[in-house]
């Protein structure tokens, strides 16, 4: 009934992909030289609202294909390792994992520069990585160590990277969208021809502040791109139970929208490129990425009480983003099966090394309780809970 209905929707995009793989005439063969361009077709055509959709053909290269594979394998392995660390109680609190959605992070990064800004919610581990973060910082922050990018004071939901143009990492659902429109406003103010991707989920799509921010962005012509990562479940509530109109790309009304297969990294890349050009000329645009998360909402959610295991394994078999790239690499004869397996082994070792390095980092010093509260403090005395052991003057 309910679950099967959504299940069938999720499995839909499979057939065009297979037809694409079995019809080699559409794909040009390459002799696996890195710089030759390859043309790939996206799994399904884009659905557009109030705009002309971009073409299905995406130019790429062998090098890009290989880097997509490696990056996504790294992200996948990182998230699985975070899962085991959480179960071993080295990561506490909330941990929201991104496996299954890697194509969105990787495809977006391929279409933009580091000067463009990305801001997202709490499912931010992989986006941080794609913006130039490194694994040791990730694991150290997750375990609350000083080597983390926020010095261990942020946690899983507060990853930031200023040099990479990654503005976080926010815990409150929907609050990052007005922030993202503010980033776009600053870009328009300084006239530097960059855009902001403000990402949110299907759960946050029902927040009022999103529409407020969209209204202002459209009024002031801000280069803001709102990206809805629709993984069809807002925590434990399926999208059709939360939204009267689950066509999130249409909800902007006067703002154009594009629906994209979020499990296909090339579709994401094409859509983001298109969106960037559009936003710089015509103001905001909404991208809806149709994607899926294999884990539950967070580590405390098994993920199987509101959806069937068959659905999860079905999507994993038919739409997995890494498998798609693997098939492309093999069919274009860019890499062999063993090469890909070696990459995965290498990635696994890299993640393990990063974890052990992160474990060596120490916990933050108690005096760090009071650092960075203000930019410059005022000699105000601040105390720890017992008022005796921990006393500091705000630095």
């Amino acid at each position: 009934m309910a679950l099967s209905r959504s299940g069938s929707n999720l499995l839909k995009p499979i057939s065009p992909f297979f037809s694409c793989a079995r019809a080699p005439s559409i794909l040009s063969r390459s002799i696996s030289s890195s710089n030759d361009s390859i043309t790939v077709e996206t799994s399904i055509p884009f659905t557009a609202h109030n705009c002309e959709p971009p073409s299905r053909s995406v130019t790429t290269s062998a090098a890009e294909l290989r880097s997509f594979f490696r990056d996504m394998a790294l992200m996948r392995r990182m998230e699985i390792a975070a899962d085991s660390l959480y179960k071993a109680k080295l990561i506490r609190g909330f941990c929201h994992l991104y496996d299954g959605q890697e194509a969105v992070a990787v495809g977006m990064e391929a279409a933009i520069t580091r000067k463009d800004c990305i801001i997202t919610a709490y499912r931010d581990h992989c986006t941080f990585l794609s913006r130039g973060g490194n694994l040791v910082e990730v694991f150290a922050e997750l375990m609350g160590r000083r080597a983390g990018m926020s010095n261990g004071k942020g946690g899983s939901m507060h990853f930031y990277r200023k040099e990479g143009g990654f503005y976080g990492g926010h815990g409150i659902v929907g609050a990052q969208v007005p922030l993202g429109c503010g980033l776009a406003f600053a870009q328009k103010y300084s006239k530097d021809e960059n855009v902001t991707f403000a990402m949110y989920g299907d759960g946050a799509a029902n927040q009022g502040q999103l529409f407020e921010a969209l209204n202002i962005a459209a009024l002031w012509d801000l280069p803001a791109i709102l990206v809805c990562e629709n993984n069809h479940y807002g925590m434990g509530t399926a999208e059709w139970r939360a939204a009267k109109s689950p066509a999130y790309y249409k909800r902007g009304d006067y703002v154009p929208g594009l629906k994209v297969d979020g499990m296909d990294a090339f579709a994401v890349k094409q859509a983001c490129k298109f969106a960037k050009e559009h936003a710089l000329k015509n103001g905001p645009i909404i991208l809806e990425m149709d994607t899926y998360r294999y884990h539950g909402h967070s580590m405390s959610d098994p993920g199987s009480t509101y959806r069937t295991r068959d659905e999860i394994s079905g999507v994993r078999q038919e739409r997995d983003p890494i498998e798609r790239i693997r098939k492309l690499l093999l069919s274009h004869e860019i890499s062999t099966e063993t090469e890909l397996k070696d990459i995965e082994k290498e990635v696994r070792k890299e993640v393990d090394n990063a974890i052990s390095k992160a474990k060596e980092s120490e916990m933050p010093d108690p005096s760090e309780l009071f650092t960075n509260v203000y930019v410059k403090g005022f000699g105000v005395e601040a105390y720890g809970a017992d008022r005796k052991e921990l006393r500091a003057t705000l630095p």
């Binding site: 004071k153 980033l183 921010a213 209204n215 930019v375 005022f378 000699g379």
Partner: protein, 403 residues
């Protein structure tokens, strides 16, 4: 109300020759500033023991006069220009917008309309629509946008048409504005100023007479200041814009038409300092914003009855200027707090706790805190009068304390 308390501020500026290096503005004020330095073109006025001693000596010689500082506004009174408080705010804002192209203003009706209290009048014509932005009525999102813009280095000033409307943006102010510097490990600074009028006005009704100082005071990472005279309004506005921390500047609806003479030279006040309004010996009265004027009115009566109250306008609501307050408590040993905030969990409650913790040994009597009643502000004029502290109540509280 308009011209009643002209020149009441004891913080008379020194003449143009005493000035301070602008770099010193950023350092903790009490340790490094020295008024006798003469460098640069901006000076920071700070009220300190220097001024205090001079005034008290004078006090012993003169017949007690409530507005004791009238005689001190001698040389600089003729220089300077007279203006109303909202014009002082506008002057400060305009000077900062001129000085730094990253400063922009966003709020409802701030642009073409000129601001509902005329604070931003004329700025949109001068600086254009991209720097003085009219927003739709969406406090949550435009405050969030201001914070997002501040993360990249812009210095926005977000105006709430009435402070009460900022409750809609509480999530953005608390979680993003206050905490981003900490949770990002120092990567992002949020140099935003959030300002607006609050407080009980003339029969504006319950929802438009809110005092939000008490709600915002526990947010870590923000600073709060309250202005009360044209002189400190301009100085605090400029200091808030120049500060790297998020600052909430509380103005009061009824104080916008106060007239005062302020100096022609550029000056910036310190955000963490309290103002000595009237030095005295018998009791310390701590107040801020509009209640300062009720206290000064009560002080007139008190002086005629023979008391000598020391009135301090605390100005900085977060963090408290415990240095000035402490020096005063050590001198008078009695404290009365007069505020417009609610009794429960208001600024007075925190101030009472802070003073008791730090200066308990110096107190001869328990601290008395006069605050507004814990009721929604009624519409009827007589009832509204009784929700806020009146001068008569201040007088009787002082008499009781000083027994």
């Amino acid at each position: 109300m308009a011209t009643l308390f002209q020149g009441v501020g004891a913080v008379t500026p020194f003449s143009a020759s005493s000035s301070l290096d602008s770099n010193k503005l950023l350092l903790p004020s009490r340790k490094s500033l020295s008024i006798s330095d003469s460098r640069g073109s901006i000076f920071v006025y700070r009220s300190d023991a220097l001024n205090l001693k001079a005034a008290t000596r004078k006090q012993d010689l003169l017949i007690p006069n409530a507005v004791a500082t009238k005689g001190e506004t001698s040389t600089s009174a003729k220089s300077g220009h007279e203006l109303l408080l909202f014009e002082a705010l506008r002057e400060g804002l305009e000077e900062e917008m001129e000085r730094d192209p990253r400063v922009c203003v966003m709020g409802e009706d701030v642009g073409h309309y000129g601001g509902s209290y005329k604070v931003t009048k004329g700025l949109a014509e001068k600086y254009g629509d991209l720097r003085v932005l009219d927003t739709p009525i969406a406090e949550n999102s435009f405050t969030g946008m201001g914070i997002g813009a501040a993360m990249t280095g812009l210095r926005p000033i977000v105006e709430g048409m009435n402070m009460g409307f900022l409750l809609l943006a509480f999530n953005q102010i608390s979680n993003n504005c206050g905490m981003l510097h900490y949770t990002s490990g120092g990567q992002f600074t949020i140099p935003i100023v959030i300002r607006g009028p609050g407080g009980v006005g003339r029969q504006l009704g319950a929802e438009h007479s809110q005092r939000l100082e008490s709600y915002f005071q526990s947010i870590p990472g923000i600073q709060m200041v309250a202005c009360s005279t044209p002189y400190n309004a301009k100085g605090l506005m400029k200091a808030a814009i120049r500060s790297e921390n998020p600052v909430i500047l509380f103005e009061h609806v009824l104080l916008y038409n106060l007239k005062e003479r302020i100096p022609d030279e550029e000056y910036v006040l310190s955000l963490e300092e309290a103002e000595m309004v009237r030095p005295g010996e018998h009791i310390t009265i701590l107040t801020y914003s509009r209640m300062r004027y009720h206290v000064m009115q009560a002080a007139k009566t008190l002086v005629n009855k023979g008391y000598d109250p020391e009135v301090i306008d605390i100005r900085s609501l977060k963090p408290f200027d415990l240095y000035t307050i402490g020096c005063s408590v050590k001198k008078t040993h009695r404290v009365l707090i007069v505020e417009e905030c609610m009794r429960t969990g208001g600024i007075g409650a925190s101030l009472t706790a802070a003073i008791t913790e730090n200066f308990h040994d110096y107190l001869d009597a328990p601290i008395v805190c006069l605050s507004s009643q814990d009721v929604p502000t009624p519409y009827a004029g007589t009832l509204e009068e009784w929700t806020v502290v009146q001068p008569a109540q201040i007088v009787s509280a002082v008499e009781q304390l000083c027994q």
